[in-house]
Amino acid sequence: MKIYNAKPILIGLAIFIGLATFPLWFNMGKAAPPPDPKLDTPVIQRMAVKQCIMPKDQMRTEHMQLLNDWRTEVVRNNNRIYTASDGKQYNMSLQNECMNCHSNKSQFCDQCHIYAGLQADATPYCWTCHIAPKENK
């Protein structure tokens, strides 16, 4: 088999493959470290049994949904108290309940959200209105 104009074609092909795989080798060995949400806030440290509103795995995957339900219940249905399945009661408030325990937003919520690639300047956009806890960074 003979390739006409073999030289430019092979060079072109090499350049093409190089460019097409650029994202792969550019990031080689630089895997983003998995997020490490910190739980060392004063309120959580004082808790005898360190548990969230739902079991940890469920919180991980369903906290956005929980917040959405809380918001609807509070703003539209005027319910403020949430009784979890273990009987514990919570005030359905982002600012006053979640962030009371998780007062380290930049070390906790943001850790995951930045890793997951949620919009960096608005991780998530709730904080343009809701006031994030003061942290001494």
């Binding site: 703003v75 539209r76 005027n78 108290i81 949430y82 009784t83 359905m92 343009t128 006031i131």
Partner: protein
Amino acid sequence: MESSRRNFMKIGGACALGLGALPIVKAYAKNEKPQVAPDSKALVATKWAMVIDMKKCWEKGKPGCKDCLLACHSVHNVPEIKTIKEEIKWIWNEQYEHAFPGQENHFLPEEIRQKPFIVLCNHCTNPPCVRVCPTKATFKRKDGITMMDYHRCIGCRYCMAGCPYGARSFNFRDPRPYIQTELNMTYPTRERGVVEKCSFCDERLAVGLLPACVEACKCGALCFGDIEDPNSEVRKLLASRFTIRRKPELGTQPSVYYIV
């Protein structure tokens, strides 16, 4: 597929039985689910209303008193933007001729013509803002409060065009740099692009507190209560004093009454 009448009846019966068992299954499932409820301390009413005694305000209050306005605006992190087009107001002062147009004449007492009236969202029984809102971001609660759901507001400002009282303000810019009072960390701010207004302090009623303006007034000029309860303070005032409302001819049925 062939099937006898007998078989058909059997299957039908089984289905009916299954449907009959649904409430039991539901009740069972419910026990496992988390529950939501109002706070037991919450103040409740069939219909909230406010009576503002302007006489009391002018006579007993210190001159130029703005306690109620300041209380509201600091509790709710309301920014202070000085231009008329962009200002944000939940409760503010208005001259008689602007608050009650059509009810003025040249010979009204000096006091009425000059002194400031306190105005806020009227929480109308028939609110035009709710009718025009395309996303149901503003809606009527069962207890008469005309509520804002800021999460749904798309900033179209139809409600502002609809409101005959100018009770709604649009955030033309990020309000945060303009908040002059100390930030209330327990209540959110708003953001650029949403409309805001008085909510009769729904967040305070929910935990058993009266609205901030009512609580702040030292001369008791603001009275807040259940207008459907004949023994309530507001009903007693309405029964004993002559009161007026803003623009009654529009048929919006305001829930804020004035003693002048």
